[in-house]
């Protein structure tokens, strides 16, 4: 359903991503992993049409999205990494805005928005301004807005950020049900434990290049490591965190007599 072909994008001559290619099939949940600055956000911005690649293309249902961005946007549900919303709108008003921008009918918006807000435990606060919402509540509004128009492709960028344990579990179940309905899901997260549980496949990116594209279990087996976290650490050559932490404590103690 979604196919990235040799994407390349640079900023002021410095490549952010190089030769990024992968696919997300209908009914598949694909984890997209990488350390900070690896090129995940750039890739997602290109997929969502907010950024144009210098080279390569993104295909959706076999069509280049650049040729019919409107059709692609109509099929896309997106939860961004940062919960940036129009703070002065209430949760319900925000969903109404998104529904209207997507051309849904008033009755449909009303029915879907109120039901989603209720299911996401936001019913009591649906008329309160978003500025008063906690991070988890904002995240739930974003999830509701992404689901409002029954999209075929869903991109979740750190969707568990700020969510409590119950909401987190609900979201994991939701992902599985969405995949069972034939939706293609691209799931970006740093919580590797969850990625290992819910994703059919993971793509690891570092320094703008795809390093791995395989099932989590296959990766763990192939690299003879205990879990995905260890695989990730080895793939992206993470520094020794224990040593780093020790150095930070030493800096903190400078000047102590």
């Amino acid at each position: 359903m979604l196919e990235l072909q040799h994407l390349y994008r640079s900023f002021r001559g410095i490549p952010a991503i190089e030769d990024v290619s992968f696919q997300v099939a209908p009914g598949e949940i694909v984890g997209f992993l990488g350390p900070n600055g690896a090129g995940k956000s750039t890739t997602v911005k290109i997929i969502t049409g907010m950024l144009r690649p210098n080279d390569g293309r993104v295909l959706f249902a076999g069509q280049d999205i650049a040729k019919d961005m409107v059709a692609f946007r109509a099929a896309l549900g997106y939860v961004p990494e940062e919960a940036h919303l129009y703070d002065y709108l209430s949760g319900l008003e925000y969903l109404q805005l998104v529904g209207r921008l997507r051309g849904l009918g008033e009755a449909l918006i009303e029915a879907k928005a109120t039901r989603l807000l209720k299911l996401l435990n936001l019913e009591s606060w649906q008329y309160s301004p978003i500025s008063t919402y906690s991070k988890g509540m904002r995240q739930r509004v974003l999830i509701a807005a992404a689901l409002l128009h029954d999209p075929k492709l869903l991109i979740f960028d750190e969707p568990l950020s700020g969510l409590d344990v119950v909401s987190g579990r609900l979201f994991k179940d939701l992902l599985e049900l969405l995949a069972a309905q034939g939706k293609a899901v691209l799931y970006i997260s740093h919580v590797l434990e969850v990625v290992e549980q819910v994703c059919n496949r993971v793509i690891v990116i570092a320094k703008g290049r795809v390093l791995a594209d395989a099932r989590p279990a296959d990766l763990v087996k192939l690299m003879s490591l205990p879990n995905l976290e260890s695989v990730f650490a080895q793939l992206v050559e993470q520094q020794d965190t224990r040593t780093l932490a020790q150095e930070m404590v030493e800096v903190m103690q400078i000047g102590r007599s």
Binding site: M50, V70, P80, H84, L85, L101, L104, E106
Partner: protein
């Protein structure tokens, strides 16, 4: 002198100095003015404008003082200038109280940030008061720097040149400071007691409307209050209620009383100034004190989130779903963002005050008035300012980082977005002004003339909306970008100057056309054709346009500059 002031400041406690500097940055409502933390630059420009005004005032005072030589004319001119300078100072201070609306009271941010720190509440209060006083003092000084010397110098000829000047000078400066203190303290009193009486959430909602009401009141009174600065008008019993209810006349009387040049029969006006000043200062002091004792505690205890109430659910359709989305987004942005509300209110209050002052006579008349130049000019100006003002406010982005949602949901061609913006312009500027003009027109006759004028006004509003849409390929409140990086303020004021130059001949033409049906029909047809041509032009250009969005967030870090 500079070193002495620095030494004096250095003797103040460090926590007071840090808080004073921080509050000075926030006295001017950054949100309302959108000046991106450049307060020093803003204050410099602000003081520069006021000093220029002061120089113009003093020049006019000096020339008029010698031109009007006949005793009655001379007295009327002097009194007029005195009242004008005092009321203008009050207006400026009034506008400062509007833009620094919540600056003196503790807000949630202060309480949450400063409570864990070893800072006493009275230090916060004193630092806030010092910051407010500094800005107000700067304004009073700048506005009166030249006129506040020239006027006393010219007036102070009795009983001897030196003593008379000193008496006039002291009387003038005391009066402008007292009048400013009265206004500032009155606003603080109303705000303070409202915050004490009402639950905090309701107060915060009401406070926004109080701010707008105060803004309209200050400008409305300044422009609409009648001129009663001669002995005959002052003695006329019909003017008693105006004098009794207008603070600028109380302080005008106070100045003359202190200057020793006030007839005893009007001393009641000066007494009102003293009483009002005493009440305002006492009210402000007590409400501030109570606020710092009670409100800080209330602010900490209030829940972070309380259920809200449903808003504009009944107004759910303004055309297709995109037009409804953009219209409701515009209405909510305009009504809920203080920055946009105050900016739009500025344009409206200024011109509506002017219009009311033009139509004062016709509105007060017992019989219907014939359609006049005053009606035509005032309604034209209201339409120009409302449409151009709203177009200007549309270009102030409200939340750049949230614009991603508009980009990812852009499912329709750009001409649909331009049509949705057009509808918002018509809904928020043209229709309200037309309705207000309709209400004002009820006092005018004959009805056919009124009907033709209202038709002309409606077409004019539509034409102005189309003019504003040329090159405006964006959703309101989402982007400040203009093709060619033009300066929106320059465009706005240029547009207003052109329109004002156009208003008088246009009104003269319309007035002459009203009595000739054929000419009136031609005028309406020409306006209709112009509107249709502009509509076609905008629609055609919008088809190939790209809708712009801006996503660079504002700078959020400001430095206090306390280090050497």
């Amino acid at each position: 002198m500079h070193k002495f002031i620095h030494k004096l400041i250095d003797r103040l406690p460090l926590d007071f100095r840090i808080l004073y500097r921080q509050f000075l940055l926030r006295v001017v409502d950054l949100e309302a003015l959108s000046i991106q933390a450049d307060v020093v630059g803003f204050l410099g420009q602000f003081a520069g404008v006021l000093i220029m005004l002061s120089l113009i005032h003093s020049l006019v005072t000096y020339i008029g003082f010698w031109v009007f030589s006949a005793p009655a004319e001379h007295l009327a001119f002097c009194w007029h200038m005195e009242h004008y300078l005092i009321s203008t100072t009050m207006l400026v201070i009034g506008l400062i109280t509007v833009v620094s609306w919540d600056a003196t009271f503790p807000d949630r941010r202060d309480v949450m940030v400063l409570s864990p720190l070893p800072v006493a509440p009275h230090t916060i209060l004193l630092a806030k008061m010092a910051a407010s006083a500094a800005v107000s003092g700067l304004a009073i000084l700048a506005l009166n720097v030249a006129s506040g010397v020239i006027l006393p110098l010219l007036l102070g000829v009795q009983p001897g040149p030196a003593w008379g000047f000193i008496q006039s000078l002291a009387a003038y400066w005391f009066t402008v400071v007292a009048a400013s203190a009265f206004l500032y303290c009155s606003v603080l009193t109303i705000q303070g007691f409202t915050s004490l009486v009402l639950p905090r959430r309701i107060f915060l909602r009401l406070s926004a409307f109080l701010q707008l009401a105060a803004f309209g009141l200050f400008l409305g009174v300044y422009f609409a209050q009648p001129l009663l600065t001669d002995p005959v008008s002052l003695a006329d019993p019909r003017n008693h209620w105006v004098l009794a209810s207008s603070p600028s006349y109380w302080f005008f009387a106070l100045f003359n009383q202190l200057n020793g040049s006030w007839p005893a029969q009007f001393s009641w006006l000066a007494s009102r100034a003293w009483i009002a000043l005493g009440l305002a200062v006492t009210g402000a002091a007590s409400s501030l004190l109570l606020c710092y004792i009670h409100t800080m505690k209330k602010t900490v205890e209030e829940p972070d989130l309380v259920p809200g109430a449903g808003g504009l659910h009944c107004l759910s359709s303004f055309g297709n779903s995109l037009q409804t989305a953009v219209a409701l987004f515009s209405i909510r942005s305009l009504t809920r963002s203080r920055q946009h509300r105050v900016a739009f209110a500025f344009y409206l209050a200024f011109v509506f005050g002017l219009a009311l002052s033009l139509l004062r006579g016709e509105m007060a008349a017992a019989a219907y008035s014939p359609v006049s130049m005053d009606l035509l000019i005032s309604t034209f100006l209201m339409m120009f300012f409302a449409v151009a003002g709203l177009r200007n406010v549309f270009s102030l982005p409200i939340s750049l980082t949230a614009n991603w949602v508009l980009r990812t949901t852009q499912l329709r061609p750009s001409e649909d977005y331009v049509a949705a913006t057009r509808r918002s312009l018509l809904l928020l500027a043209v229709v309200p002004v037309w309705l207000l003009s309709f209400a004002l027109s009820l006092r005018f006759r004959p009805i056919p003339h009124v009907a033709v004028h209202l038709a002309v006004l409606a077409l004019l509003g539509c034409i102005l909306a189309e003019l504003c849409l040329i090159g405006f390929y964006k959703v309101p409140f989402t982007c400040s970008y203009l093709p060619g990086k033009a300066n929106i303020q320059l465009i706005f004021w240029g547009f207003i100057i052109v329109m004002i130059a156009f208003v008088v001949p246009a009104a003269q033409f319309e007035l002459s056309a009203l009595t000739v049906p054929l000419k009136a029909a031609f005028m309406l047809s020409a306006l209709g054709a112009l509107f249709w041509a502009l509509w076609i032009f905008n629609r055609h250009r919008a088809k190939s346009a790209v809708i712009y969005f801006e996503e660079i967030p504002d700078q959020v870090i400001t430095t206090l500059g306390l280090s050497a």
